[in-house]
Amino acid sequence: MIAYNVNKIREDFPILNVKVHGKPLIYLDNAATSQKPKQVIQAEKDYYETINANIHRGVHKLSEDATAGYEEAHEKAADFIGADNLDEDSNIEQIIFTRNTTESLNLLAYSLSNSKIDTGGGNNKADTIFELKEGDDILITQAEHHANLVPWQQLAKKLKLKLKFAKISLDSNDDEDFGTLDVQQFNELVTKKTKIVAVAQMGNVLGTINDAREIGKIVHENNPSALFIVDGAQSVAHSKVDVAKLGCDFFAFSGHKMLAPTGIGVLFGKKNLLEQMKPFMYGGDMIRKVTFEDTLYNDLPWKFEAGTPNIAGGIALGSAIDYLQKIGMENIFAHEQELTRYALKRLEEFEDITIYGPRKMSEKRTGIISFNIDGIHAHDVASIFDQHGIAIRGGHHCAMPLMSLLNVAGTARISFYLYNKKEEVDKVVDAIKSVKKIFA
């Protein structure tokens, strides 16, 4: 393996040369969105300058090239998350391009609300039919992003379902497990009535890693008709994902958190499930045949991609995947783990800092560190960091129920990516000292 060269990687990101308030930008808001390498920016530009045309329509050369590029991007996405291991002949049929994770999850919430599906999971046919009925329940965790909470909450209201929340550990004295999922309690919550289980593989606030494979096993063993959905918005950008190994039925993620432009996201779904599901949106490109009376839907994945899609964004997502794969997701993960270990160590210097999530480095933790400095509001921390050229997030991180559980209005959050380096962590420590001086 070639040594991980962070300075070489940084050269690919033009924005890292930008100065903020006269100081070099230190970008530590990667959990919100990542920066883009010049290769991805170029891919989007190339598309518009050389092959821009609508897809699946014209017989002219440009349209053929655009269609090929857009479809190839689906193949790259399938390969990136291991969907091709599941069914190599139909990998593209399992990959739906959306705007982002939020849209992917809304697509599911809408489509599952009026679909009847034979999951084919169990031995007894009667046990494997998925159909939402009054009194059924949906299970998520207490730590979910609003994107993986509000769609289920509103679906539950509409169909009179029960939305259940699996507990996370709130024991702030537990260095290793603070913020992690209580798997034993989770197991008890997956019953015959549980039809949908939706869990983030990596928490966007607490930096925790859920063992999605273990969770998937519990879900399918406890109830063969239940569908297991993984919110991969954070995990796909920072670690090697293999949906075949995870055993999930659906996997949702965004392009913009993994070096691609905004406005392009992905929903992976098992082919046999997607085939039985109703479309989310209706219109052009999702049809095979339309009469005045009725419509025959298109094949997968186009059945779920109504209207002219974000073609340039899709192609640029393919380029982002190429870029990440060239460096290697395992290498990126290891680099970020190292940075996180270092940052946690340096934060130990401060007695008045509370970290929300595991304080100790382990396989349950990733490069998102939420914290508060005693008596100082997260927005003030973020403002002062900004004056130092350091971009961090201060606020509720789209997880207001979790904030109330932690009994805070918000937290400051630093989140790493492949281009961050140890020297930047040192600057964070300097910025914290500056905050404390101002508020002393």
Partner: protein, 146 residues
């Protein structure tokens, strides 16, 4: 533009943050309202006691003069929202209600004396928006009674 963290959190702001003026709650207020900023979870409540006088204008028409006799705020949040509200209470103390209603956002922001990032403007104006809403409710109620 380049400026430093110390500029944004200059002494007068930190003074109002650490020693908020007119902090607390008035019992049986004439005006009372509370709201939060969903972006950062800041919360501010404002209570006001009015001094009401009936006066006659030069044409002999009766008019009600309402002045802020006492104002208190409470809540929690960032230094900008708390300091700005503290300054606001000093600013409007003794003012006629009709003049408070004429106040613009900038009249409040300029109390801080610093350039604000757009996202922090909401913090600075939270107290003012609560006061405005409180006055709006108070006047609506009064009209309904009349």
């Amino acid at each position: 533009m380049e400026f430093f963290a110390e500029d944004m959190y200059r002494e007068n702001i930190m003074d109002h943050f650490k020693n908020p003026r007119n902090h607390g709650i008035i019992k049986n207020p004439d005006i009372g309202f509370a709201d939060n900023n969903p972006l950062c979870g800041d919360e501010i409540g404002i209570t006001v006691k009015l001094k009401t006088e009936k006066i006659k204008d030069k044409n002999g028409n009766e008019e009600i003069k309402e002045e802020i006799a006492e104002i208190k705020f409470n809540g929690k949040g960032c230094a900008i929202s708390q300091a700005s509200t503290s300054m606001l209470t000093e600013q409007v103390m003794g003012m006629k209600l009709k003049d408070v209603k004429k106040m613009k956002n900038n009249d409040v922001i300029k109390n801080l004396g610093i350039p604000l990032q757009p996202i922090r403007v909401k913090c600075a104006l939270l107290g003012f928006k609560v006061l405005e809403a409180g006055i709006f409710l108070y006047e609506g109620k009064n009209k309904a009674i009349k």
